[in-house]
């Protein structure tokens, strides 16, 4: 049951402030603790790696000394060996922890590769001279300095040592590994913080905010003249005691007035957070490798080209979501969000299980179709729940909870999915998705309140009622110049082409996940700020246009450049482009269709935009697959980028038309 009134402002402000304090305290504590742990674990890593690097260094010196000795024993003077420095360079090439390799004779250095501090080098050279003058074949000896750990091994011509091979291993290798993998470490920290924050919400904010907000709302309800209401909440803490006192007063009032006591379950948007987070986490796990998995299942001979075939799992998933969303909305109205959420977990879980067991691409397609069905049900149910439990004043905040949860799940799923696929294989990741979907159902069962179904008759999706929108040229331009291309870039480039591109340049699933991860991070952190800026400057059209052009440029850049760095830069630009243009598209749609908004309602106009933009989601992977099959990876990306940037220029025509409209009345 929902309280149909707003929270008194003073209580709302206090609860808000408290939420911020809890978030701040929890996040600061977690950040400090995880940073401290990372520092300490890397200290331990340093000690462990030193021993292994020394072992490897001895093996490498043995290998090189054997080759020099072979030459010396054949009577070839080491100083006359051709390309000695190049030989040492090559020997060092595949071993980043070996910073220095040198061959010293009694008269001085014969050749060297890499650098070492002059003071350390002088000490090592002196030690080499002593080794040679000692005679006999000395074994490897170690010499530690602040920066390098040296291994010295004599080179003998069969009778006496003629030179010494010097190998300098990096003393700070473990720390350099930390520096090299700074992005990895940050990813680990970010994912840990997000997951831990979800726990704070589950264990602290939800049980506190729910009853407090409902109590605050009941104050307003008590001021009316409706039947008395009591709150279904039992706990032994101070909130539980306060609720018990309130319920006792309500019962007394009911007895006195002879009215029936209504029972209320405290429900807030936070109830849906954990189930939704778990499900999005589960679904995004496959993102860094789905096209690669599809490729491994694609038949060698098929009437469809491999590139198109491997784009189908994403396209089918998006198509099923697009179709099922319309139907799932009605189902949520009829059965209530909780039931649809629980029912949606079933096809999703079956889908993940089928995907894990898939032996060919057709079974994978069936699996993705099942998951798409579940996805539409769960997301629509979550959206319906958020709308049902929040008053109109709270709705924006509740939707922010919903969107924030989607993004948090997306970040964690993409990061962890890549790492797990790299470590344990694709099937294990799908099995984990299955387990997480089951956990989604359990979380929904325990946390989501059973709300009554909507009394109103479900509205059917009638395209004829939307006809005026299809006659609105500005709306169509917005749809084809911005909304569809955005989804095309998201699903065609980031979800489909990027894993193939990065795999082509030797990136592992974990690295692909880290590159893709940049996108939701930018959307989460820059999206609200950029859309706020667009609102403040009243320039939604400029932001949408700039987003389209930047999006095209990012894809062209990806097509003409090579390597993981270029891909990461393109994802940064795409993330910026979409963070800047996604929200302004909504403002533009409302601004461009005033008559339609008045006739149909804002929600229906926006829902049509959101439904039609899925053409890009479904078509994006298929289009990119066909283009890659036809033109190859680089050219197809360049063509797609040029096309997206060109169609974005269509937005300029909206400006021209509106200007004419604005001028004509005065004429």
């Amino acid at each position: 049951m929902k309280v149909g009134c707003k929270v008194p402002p003073e209580a709302a402000t206090s609860i808000d402030r408290l939420r911020w304090v809890v978030t701040l305290v929890a996040l600061s504590l977690m950040l400090l603790a995880t940073l401290l742990l990372t520092t300490i674990t890397y200290r331990g890593l340093d000690e462990q790696l030193d021993h292994r690097i020394a072992l490897k260094g001895r093996l490498l010196t043995d290998h090189l000394v054997t080759q020099f000795e072979r030459a010396a024993q054949h009577g070839i003077p080491l100083s006359r060996l051709p390309d000695l420095e190049r030989f040492l360079d090559l020997a060092r090439k595949d071993h980043p922890e070996i910073l220095y390799l040198g061959l010293a004779a009694e008269g001085g250095m014969l050749a060297s590769s890499g650098t070492a501090p002059p003071t350390s080098l002088a000490v090592v050279q002196e030690a080499s001279r002593q080794l040679i003058s000692q005679g006999g074949r000395p074994g490897a000896s170690h010499l530690g300095t602040e920066e390098l750990q040296f291994i010295l091994q004599g080179v003998s011509d069969g009778s006496a040592p003629v030179a010494v091979l010097i190998l300098g291993a990096d003393e700070l290798f473990a720390w350099r590994k930390v520096e090299d993998s700074l992005f990895d470490t940050l990813t680990v920290l970010l994912v840990s913080l997000i997951v831990a924050f979800e726990f704070v919400v589950l264990l602290l904010m939800r049980p506190l905010a729910g009853p407090l907000l409902t109590l605050a709302k009941l104050r307003a309800a008590g001021e009316g003249r409706g039947p008395p209401v009591c709150l279904r909440y039992r706990a032994r803490d101070e909130i539980g005691q306060a609720v018990a006192r309130f319920n006792a007063s309500a019962e007394r009032l009911a007895r006195k007035s002879g009215q029936k006591l209504r029972e209320l379950t405290p429900a807030t948007a936070l109830d849906i957070r954990l189930p939704l987070f778990l499900f999005i986490f589960a679904d995004e796990l496959q993102k860094p490798f789905l096209p690669l998995y599809a490729n491994s299942l694609a038949p060698a001979q098929s009437w469809i080209s491999t590139e198109v075939l491997i784009s189908l799992p994403i396209a089918v998933f998006m198509l099923v979501i697009a179709l099922a969303t319309l139907w799932a909305g009605h189902l949520v109205d009829r059965l209530g969000p909780r039931r649809v959420l629980l029912a949606g977990a079933l096809p999703a879980a079956v889908g993940y299980l089928l995907a894990a067991m898939a032996t060919d691409i057709w079974l994978l397609l069936l699996a993705r179709a099942f998951t798409g069905l579940g996805y539409a049900g769960i997301v629509m149910a979550a959206q319906g729940y958020v709308a049902a439990v929040s008053s109109p004043e709270e709705r924006n905040r509740a939707i922010a909870v919903f969107v924030g949860c989607l993004m948090a799940g997306s970040i964690c799923g993409t990061a962890i999915g890549g790492i797990l696929a790299h470590e344990a294989g694709y099937q294990i990741v799908f099995l984990l998705s299955f387990a997480l979907t089951m956990a989604t159902a359990v979380a929904a069962w325990c946390l989501v309140a059973s709300l009554p179904a909507q009394a109103r008759k479900p509205q059917s999706f009638n395209f004829r009622s939307f006809w005026p929108l299809f006659r609105n040229r500005a709306f169509l331009i917005l749809l084809f110049s911005a909304a569809i291309p955005s989804k095309l870039a998201l699903n065609g480039i980031i979800s489909f082409t990027l894993p193939i591109y990065l795999n082509h340049y030797g990136a592992s699933a974990a690295e692909i996940g880290r590159v893709i991860l940049i996108y939701p991070i930018l959307i989460l952190f820059l999206g609200p700020w950029l859309s706020g800026l667009a609102d403040r400057w009243n320039s939604a059209r400029f932001f949408t246009l700039a987003g389209g052009l930047l999006s095209g440029t990012a894809i062209i850049l990806l097509g003409v450049s090579e390597g993981i760095g270029a891909a990461a830069l393109s994802v940064v630009l795409l993330g910026l482009a979409h963070a800047a243009s996604t929200s302004p598209q909504i403002s533009m749609a409302i601004e461009l269709c005033p008559r339609e908004v008045e006739a149909l309602g804002q929600a229906r106009v926006l829902s049509l935009l959101r439904t039609l933009e899925r053409i890009g989601s479904v078509g994006g992977p298929l289009l990119m697959g066909s283009l890659i099959a036809w033109q190859g990876l680089g050219s197809s990306l360049a063509y797609a980028g040029v096309a997206i940037a060109t169609v974005a220029c269509g937005l300029l025509f909206i400006g021209h038309r509106r200007q004419v409209e604005a001028i004509s009345p005065s004429l």
């Binding site: 305290v25 504590l29 995880t34 994912v191 264990l203 803490d237 309130f246 009032l253």
Partner: protein
């Protein structure tokens, strides 16, 4: 559960989740680094061995006449964890291995790596790391290959030590952070109590008013 305890438990659980995730992901990365070092060590060893085998082959010694017994003993001493060194011909038939039962059999496909043209490859089988290297004569002809089998136990010691030590460190940090945050939790619980008071004070009078 009083509010103070509830806040403490919630923060403790969230911190435990964050720290256990950091430990798990760092352990995965540590395992990967150790495996990479094992792989590089085996690579150096195979490179040294391949030089002498190729020279002997160029001088006319058939590949099958090579025995790796001595090299195997040296390898086990120098590169920890090497379980076996296998020599095979260009058709993948095993010519020499410490397990005599393997000789004459074909190398399993899973041991040959995914890239058939790569000079050196790695694969995993039954938890063991396999590092292979193709042998080419001085005329560029592929004559066979060498395979090092690295035991799953090669870095198990170091990994298990980390597995024991890191969670303990995480536990220490968890307790330290909780101790550090006790005053904060106390203040937070006090504020919460005040808020509960405020909300119930606001909610109850309207009921009292109505009942009177």
């Amino acid at each position: 559960m009083p509010l103070f305890l509830r806040v403490s438990v919630a923060l403790c659980a969230s911190l435990a989740v964050a720290l256990s995730m950091v430990v798990t992901l760092n352990l995965l990365k540590y395992d990967e680094t150790l495996r990479q070092l094992d792989h590089e060590r085996a690579g150096i060893l195979l490179s040294t061995l391949s030089h002498s085998i190729i020279i002997a082959h160029d001088l006319g010694l058939p590949l099958a006449a090579n025995s790796l017994a001595e090299e195997r003993a040296t390898a086990r001493k120098k590169a920890q964890g090497i379980e076996d060194l296998i020599l095979f011909d260009h058709q993948g038939v095993i010519l020499d291995a410490s397990d005599q039962g393997r000789i004459g059999k074909k190398l399993p496909d899973a041991w040959r790596g995914e890239a058939p043209s790569a000079l050196q490859w790695t694969a995993r089988s039954d938890g063991r790391l396999l590092v292979g290297r193709r042998l080419h004569s001085s005329f560029g002809e592929e004559i066979g290959g060498l395979l090092a089998i690295i035991s799953a136990r090669s870095h198990a010691g170091a990994f298990q030590a980390a597995l024991l030590r890191w969670p303990l460190k995480a536990l220490g940090i968890l307790l330290f952070s909780l101790l550090l945050s006790l005053p904060l939790i106390y203040l937070l619980a006090r504020r919460l109590r005040k808020l509960v008071q405020l909300v119930t004070d606001e909610a109850s009078p309207s009921l009292r008013e109505r009942s009177s």
